[in-house]
């Protein structure tokens, strides 16, 4: 039995970087790649979600990010006029650089999720096909940050790359940290549940002596 639905990857003022997530049942931590699906220029549509669900039923964590979340109208558009012209206009105004950062945010988030083994498979359709290449064009960022941060006031929708954007858990921070990178503690925690380290990394809570990683429940 899969679980699926909308999640929020990032917030900017009132705007939300939303995505559709389909999560498989029973996938152990670090066991398999995840899948990111980029939509056509018409935006987030049912058939994209159904594809994500289909991958989840086959055991893969699948994410459909809404790359048009920064656009004036971020929702789905139809194939017929006037929506069709609106879709072309939205695509023409698309900020590829910001979109690239958003993709990195989404990829890193996926890499921080328990079933992920560090690999993310990207596929896109029509305008979304270009986005799959944008992922490949940002390998350094997509490989993770040299330093990341955790805080007991952090949030796992953050990218963990500064104390102000710290994540809440070591597990998510590990997904955002480059091989041989370092995770630092912003404060003393506690930081909740146990986690598995599968990459070379330093975890350093020097700034938070007495910090605890104890399970909090």
């Amino acid at each position: 039995m899969i679980t699926s639905g909308e999640i929020v990857l990032q917030r900017d003022g009132d705007r939300e970087f939303d995505a559709y997530l389909a999560r498989p049942a029973g996938a152990g931590p670090g066991t398999r790649p995840s899948i990111i699906i980029f939509t056509e220029m018409f935006g987030m549509a049912r058939h994209n979600f159904e594809m994500a669900d289909a991958y989840a039923r086959r055991g893969f964590l699948a994410l459909v990010p809404n790359l048009f979340w920064r656009s004036p109208y971020p929702g789905e558009l139809g194939y017929d006029e006037p929506d069709r012209s609106a879709a072309f206009a939205r695509l023409a105004a698309f900020d590829v650089e910001a979109g690239g950062r958003d993709i990195v945010t989404a990829v890193k988030w996926l890499r921080g999720q328990p079933p992920n083994n560090g690999k993310v498979f990207a596929l896109g359709f029509c305008a979304g096909g270009r986005m799959a290449f944008v992922v490949a064009a940002n390998p350094a960022q997509a490989a993770g940050f040299r330093f990341t941060y955790v805080s007991n006031t952090g949030n796992d929708i953050n990218n963990c790359d500064s104390p102000a954007t710290a994540c809440a858990t070591f597990n998510t921070a590990l997904g955002q940290t480059a091989n041989y990178g370092e995770i630092d503690c912003v404060n003393t925690g506690p930081y909740g549940q146990s986690f598995t380290i599968t990459q070379s990394v330093t975890i350093n809570c020097a700034g938070a002596i007495g910090g605890k990683m104890a399970r909090s429940s």
Partner: protein, 222 residues
Amino acid sequence: VNGAGIVVRLRNLSIDSSGFESFGIDGQNMAALYIENCIITNLNTANGGSSPFLGIKFEPSAGTSQLFVTNSIISNNGKSGVVSGGIDIVPGSGVAAQVSIDRSQINGNIFGIIADGTSGGIIKGTITDSVVSGNSQNGITVSSAGSSVVLQVDRTTVGSNANHGLVAGGSGAGMLVSNTNVFNNGGGLFTAGGGTLYSYGNNHVNGNNGDDGSFTGTVGQQ
């Protein structure tokens, strides 16, 4: 910790299970694991967690793997009646574990430190400038009927452990001991099954409940 060839450094962490987890740190597969300035405590039954309750379990499954525990406190771990406690080193078959425990306190656990060749792994380790005290079983134990398991213990205090201070069990197990105090344990030195405890001739072994025991032999100083 589980990744082929990885190097993991854990610094300045307080790992307090409060009785929920069974391992503080579980080293399963890695090239090297550094534990520096850490406190690992309360891996025990307080809240009904499951066995085996170890502060550090080092059980590398492949190749040669190194463990460095420096300036750390490992206390109040383990479950009475099972092999559990502070640090348990059990490399897999054919795996070589190299271990350094330096300037650390391993106090108030069930067993203190165990180096175990049962799985067929080889262990070479040093314990220096440390205290292994108040554990309710043995202080430092080496155990192997087959593969070589040898610890060198220097400038270390082994005191007030309820069972023996230093124990070598099995023909593959040995300890080389210098500048070390073994005091007020349930028994001092204990060997069985061909295990060996060698002294460099400058240790203090006294007051161990009338059972100081004796070293298997001495090793000359250079």
